[in-house]
Amino acid sequence: MFRKKYKELIDQTEPNRELLNKIFEKAKTENKQSTKSKLYKFTARYGAVLAAVFILSVSAVIYTQLNYSDQTLIVKNKSNDEEIILKNEFDTEDVDITAGQEENVKYGETNDLTKEETVQNQSSEHYSYAEKNRTASVEPDLSEIKENKAIISNLESSSEDENQLIYSMLKDYFGEIDLETGNQFIFDIAGKFQSEDGQYYLGRWLWNVGDHNSLLCEFVIKSNLFEMYECFIENDYIIWTNSNNLLKN
């Protein structure tokens, strides 16, 4: 049961609470610094604006003067027009405008992910790994796994007796407390439904973690109480596979 194992694994990582004080202190220090530097920021901002205006004015004057001298030069060199045109053509040929396009084409051939995925992959060290596994994910080996589906709206309410029977069986089988974590197990039956191979009950398996319940998995259990599978609810369907009977032992 992946969800349970994953929760256990992540729960082993106790958050570093000392970090909280560090964050508050750092935020306070930075706040003080920013107040002190407001005056400097104000001066710097307006200083920068003035400098920019000055530079633009100077540039405009220089540009006007240069244009004027260029025009004079053209008039003076009218007889050398042909030579100037030839030089311009030569300059244009020097620019390799196809280089970028070739690179794009090459990139497109090796990577057909969506734009979002591409950006994420580029920023990730696991790029090649993800790419490698993507091929595997397209063709998963599911030949031995049978997927079952049932429409959730076909769920009927089950009687209290039926529920109690299932609860006591599950408690006998799995125990009342998770020995690995000490958390209390809670089973909750939502109802029953008819599938191709018989009647099933839909339920949830939870941990009682002090102030709240934490979901371990959703499951289906066959009415003969010998088969129980983890299931997944997607849109209007209950989906499960018969690959791992939780009551197989």
Binding site: R3, P15, I23, F24, A27, E125
Partner: protein, 165 residues
């Protein structure tokens, strides 16, 4: 919808409220305590300095989750991280020595970060595909495909030892 501008005290309360959740999300993504500390610090400093107003508690939660994921991605693109990868891996292993090294541990450790976040929100925070899509501001079908790819990678690593469905 009415926007709320938070006072410093309210911001501190929110940091304390979401600290564990954000820490675990960051750890699931960067897989190292050292980098998780860095990410969490960055996220909450941004939040405390932020002058932005929020619409609701859900809006704050979504903002924190998104910023955590972005900061996690930034860690991987950071040149310092690239240079120190072997050291970080040793550090993760040393953390693992304190714990029981399970197949799940290795499978999750090798899961690419883009799938780690979705897997974590789905399996640890018990969020539905619709919730994840809303929090991360991505299409539900993208969430589904990332979840499915993540599961397939894990399934392959675990060689069918654990049922995901």
């Amino acid at each position: 919808m009415k926007n709320i501008i938070l006072t410093n005290d309210e911001k501190h309360q929110i940091v304390e409220k979401y600290f564990d959740m954000i820490y675990r999300l960051a750890f699931a993504q960067v897989k190292s305590r050292e980098y998780a500390d860095e990410v969490v610090q960055e996220v909450f400093l941004r939040f405390l300095k932020n002058k932005k107003s929020f619409e609701s508690d859900e809006h704050i939660k979504a903002w924190l989750i998104r910023v955590t994921i972005n900061c996690g991605h930034n860690i991987f693109s950071n040149s310092w991280y690239k240079k120190t990868v072997p050291l970080v891996e040793n550090e993760i292993d040393s953390v693992a020595q304190m714990e029981e090294k399970s197949d799940i541990y290795y499978a999750v450790k090798e899961l690419p970060p883009k799938y780690s976040a979705v897997i974590h929100l789905f399996y640890y925070e018990d969020m539905s595909i619709e919730d994840i899509s809303k929090y991360l501001k991505i299409n539900p079908s993208t969430v589904k495909s990332q979840l499915s790819r993540g599961r397939n990678i894990l399934r392959e690593k675990l060689k069918g030892g654990i049922d995901f469905v």
